[in-house]
Structures are given as structure tokens and as C-alpha cells.
Assembly symmetry: C2
């Protein structure tokens, strides 16, 4: 099934205990599309400046079946983010953000994008998320990501957008801020009441909680010995999840659970190197191998039997 | 199999957002024995003061098959702990600790305790943990719990004790302090090199990581909507884990994984009420019911199949 993503394509400068990179490819749409395109054809909507060398920097996505017809190039500078991580890789310190051409981003969907069946609204202004939704004819599954900045600053628009989506992906702090509930179960239930029947709470190295209708699914993160750069982990997770859903076409509880695990697998690859260095080289074989390790990790086999024989 | 625990029996005064209790039964050995006795006969070694009403306060354990012959009663006051939790129930604020008779605790094992096959050394001075180990003839499985206080203050004795146990249970901060490694996988591997072939890292609401020989198992915590008091969650977890192992007599990877899940189940019950109010009423039926919910939570069923059909 066709999978549309709208988000950012950025140039990141990132320092972690493992090293430093300057002006490397980043942005939510880049991470998402790289992960998702392992599973399904992806349509990308974003904007870059005239300082961005499209073919050189993002051309590899075409070879992965990503349609870049929705990537606008405008006069001005590409969105830039400068960040640093300390030993606690769960927490990014933003040193600088330069919106550049992203400040005036007005997503326009090419005609053939308007019939996309699955849509991922990455973390951008909820007014723009609504603008994109207005241009899609009859989506079957829409997921939305957001952040504290919009929860505080554009609450009304965000609530409008949430009312129109099936899935919301947030981290624990965002779920708490959005709902006013500290307890995560209560917070997720409150977010569900705002619209999405499915709420995915991302907890970084602590894994993911999936609230789907009445049910809860907990997926631990894949424990890694060597993490180089957490940037893009959440969007790679979302790309794995939505890409798998687009391929499996099962939006029920089983499909969602497996999609969450695929997301965890993609997130675990993403943090093994800077930028998209690891995920751009991934094959489906790599993914299924780690999926098997993941099943082993959560002991799916060991827990098959009844607890007590007597 | 016979299961021996040495630890504290205490009187706790605890305040949480859900309420306050004064001088209620607490202590690592109490929580452990209450949980473990659901599965196996337990032998308890601890000390209380002459202000402690043994029959009234801890007599219920006898009915659960706990042998209290190792519970000393000495002149003086029982160990008291006063603590408070804020909205973040992961973090206890200790307001007061009065060791009382615990300051001079010198565990003496009754003759019939000395042939116990499974031993849990709860979080006490590692010199005392060693003293207990010296009194057990031929244990088949020994687990040890500890804390930052001993890692800093009694490192030499703790290393001696660790070299003699099969299982270490620590939280993430303790694993990091003990090993000097920030990454939890590296930290666990380093703790394994100190002796225990099995390292259990407890992460509170984020669940548990089990490192057994070369393998890793991740168990999320059971998400709860109403937590009243986290005190004793770790010792209830350990009680469930060790009790299950004593009953199942499988110390291999499958037995350990199921034991970890039983531990998570017991921990989840423990925090639903103050002191031992919830766990003391538990039946095996309650446990197996929540174990089934737990299997559903981690999607053991949904992940049975191959990821991709093609």
C-alpha cells in the first residue's frame, strides 16, 4: 500500500560520546522514509533550501522506491539542527535550530500523492499536518507524531489534528503534557479520548507501550552494547512500524504488535551509527534476523506454556 | 525445594500521593517471604526488637508455610524506615532510618535451615551475607541483592560475596556503580565477570533485564493505572522469582525467564497497596491470571509467526 510521509529533511550537526558529524542528512522525513522504504513504496513531502544537493544527499532514497515528487526546493537555507548528547543518550541538548526554508513550509501534495492510503504526519506544526490531511482523499490509516513545542504553542490545532487520526506516537513526557496525567496508562487513555484509537508511547531505551483500543502491549527496546547516535531513533521506529503496516495491511492488534516490534528493530539499527549511515544499508534480511533475536529477547517461546503444571 | 531468605523485618512509615501509613510491616525479608511463600516453603532469618508483636504482625506468614525459627527477637527497637514518594514513584526519599536491633544483627541459622538448597541474601551488609553463606552446607542456587551504600562502603566484602553467588539482582544505578560502565549491557557483563552467571537488572516501572550466561531477556513491567506504594516492589519481585525457581526447579534459561515474569507479576501486585496488604491476600490463582495477562501484554502469541511470508 502507498505510504505518504510529511516531515522535515534537515542537515544535522551532532556530537555524542562516540564522535561528531557536521551537516549530515537528518530530519524526520529522511529517517522515516529510509526505514519505511524497506517494506513499502514511500511518498515524501518536505522542503529543502537551494544549498541542498538533492541527488547527492537524498538520491539514494529513489533506489529504495521513495517518490521524491513532493520534495520542494526553495531559495534559502535548508533546516539545520545542532545537538549534543552526553553519557545519557536518552536526552538531546539542542544547541541551535535554524528553520531556514522550513519556516515558510506549505506542503503541496502532487496529484498522484492524494490517493495515498497510509499517511504519517511527522512532528511538524499541527496546522501543516491538517493542511496535508485536507489534501488526502480517503486515507485508511493516519498516524501523527508531535512534541512539547506544539502541545504548548498550538494546542487547538493539535487537538483538531488528533481528532482526525487513527494513531498518535508520543514520548512519555509528551503523553503526560498532552493529557495532564502523570500515570502513563491514564495518560494514554486520555489521549485516546482525543481521537486516536491507537496510542504509541515511545520511551527510548525503555521501549514502547502500545495502547490499542482496550489493549496494552509492552515492547522493550533492543539492548545494545554500542550506541553511537540516538538522533532519528523515533522516526526510524515510526518508519519501521508504518512501513510494516503498509506491507502487511493488518491494522488490527496482531499487525500493530508486530509493527511495533519492527519499529523497535529499525530504531535499534538507527542508533548504531550517525545520521542514516546504518539504516540506509539495511536489507530485509538484516531486519528479519534481528526480529528473530528480538523474539528471543522477549522470550516469546519460553512463555508459551502454562505457568504451573499442577 | 527449601528456600532461605536473610534480610530485614522492619516497621515502615510511608507517604505517597495515595496516602500515608505509620509503623506498618516492611523490610526486605517480609516482602520476599510473603511473595515467595506462594510457591515454596520459606525459611526466614531476620531480627526484630522487643517492641515487635511477632504473632500479630508477622504470624500470617506461618499460615503461608514460612518457618520463622530464624527470626530473632532482641531487646531494643525494631528497624524503622520513614520514606516519601512524590508523583515519580520510581524514586524514594528517605526521611529517617533507625537501625535499632538491626545494627548488631548477627544471623544465626537454626540447624534445620543449614541444608537449604536455595538462598536469597537480601540487601544487608555483605559481611552478613557472607556469614550466612558460611552456614549453608551445599546450596544449589544463591542470589544476592545489594545497594549503593554497600557498593561504596563495603566493596571488598561485596566482591567476596558476589564471587560466591549464582544470581545478582541490582537496579540500573547499582549495576553502573558496581561496574563503572554506563551502558547497561556492558555493566551487566562486567558484573557477571565478578562471579554471578546471572545478573538481573531491575528498572522499576521500565521492567527487568535478565543476563544469563550469554543471553539477554527483557521483561517490561506490568503497566498499572493505580499504584499506591512502590515500597517492597523489588523484594516482592525477588520473592516471586526465587519462589518460582524453588518450585519449578529449573535454573536454566527457560525457568529463569518464567521466574522473571512471575517476579514482575508479584512486583505489580505489591505496589497496588501499602505494606503487604495486597500480596498477603494473593492466591496462586490471582498470580496465574495476571501471568496470562502478562503474556498478552508482551504479545507472546502475536510474535509466534515469521515476520514476512515472502
Amino acid at each position: 500500500m502507498s505510504l505518504l510521509v510529511v516531515g522535515s529533511v534537515a542537515l544535522d550537526t551532532v556530537e555524542t560520546p562516540a564522535g561528531k558529524v557536521t551537516d549530515v542528512l537528518g530530519g524526520s522525513a529522511s529517517f522515516f522514509a529510509t526505514a519505511a522504504s524497506l517494506f513499502a513504496p514511500v511518498r515524501l513531502v518536505a522542503v529543502v533550501g537551494d544549498d541542498f544537493r538533492v541527488e547527492e544527499q537524498i538520491g539514494f532514497l529513489r533506489a529504495r522506491g521513495v517518490d521524491l515528487a513532493g520534495l520542494q526546493q526553495r531559495p534559502g537555507r535548508t533546516f539545520r539542527w545542532v545537538g549534543r548528547y552526553g553519557a545519557n543518550l536518552n536526552e538531546a541538548h539542542t544547541l541551535d535550530t535554524q528553520l531556514g526554508v522550513f519556516a515558510d513550509f506549505a506542503p503541496e501534495l502532487p496529484e498522484h500523492f492524494r490517493h495515498s492510503k497510509i499517511v504519517f504526519l511527522a512532528n511538524i506544526d499541527p496546522a501543516l499536518q491538517l493542511r496535508v490531511l485536507d489534501q488526502v482523499a480517503a486515507p485508511e490509516l493516519v498516524a501523527l507524531d508531535t512534541m512539547n513545542f506544539w502541545i504548548k504553542g498550538k494546542r487547538a490545532e493539535l487537538l483538531q489534528a488528533l481528532a482526525r487520526v487513527h494513531v498518535a506516537t508520543v514520548n512519555d513526557g509528551e503523553a503526560r503534557m498532552l493529557s495532564g496525567e502523570h500515570n502513563l496508562v491514564k495518560a494514554a487513555r486520555a489521549v485516546q479520548r482525543l481521537g486516536p484509537r491507537t496510542v504509541v508511547i515511545k520511551r527510548g531505551e525503555f521501549g514502547v507501550l502500545l495502547f490499542h483500543e482496550e489493549r496494552v502491549f509492552a515492547a522493550p527496546a533492543f539492548p545494545l552494547e554500542d550506541l553511537r547516535d540516538p538522533t532519528g531513533a523515533g522516526d526510524s521506529f515510526a518508519g519501521g512500524m508504518m512501513g510494516y503496516l503498509a506491507r502487511a495491511r493488518d491494522f488490527g492488534v496482531t499487525g500493530l504488535r508486530r509493527a511495533i516490534v519492527v519499529g523497535c528493530v529499525l530504531g535499534s539499527f538507527a542508533v548504531e551509527d550517525f545520521s542514516l549511515e546504518r539504516t540506509r544499508l539495511l536489507t530485509l534480511g538484516d531486519v528479519t534476523k534481528r526480529y528473530e533475536l528480538y523474539r528471543e529477547l522477549i522470550g516469546a517461546g519460553a512463555l508459551q506454556e502454562r505457568l504451573l503444571d499442577d
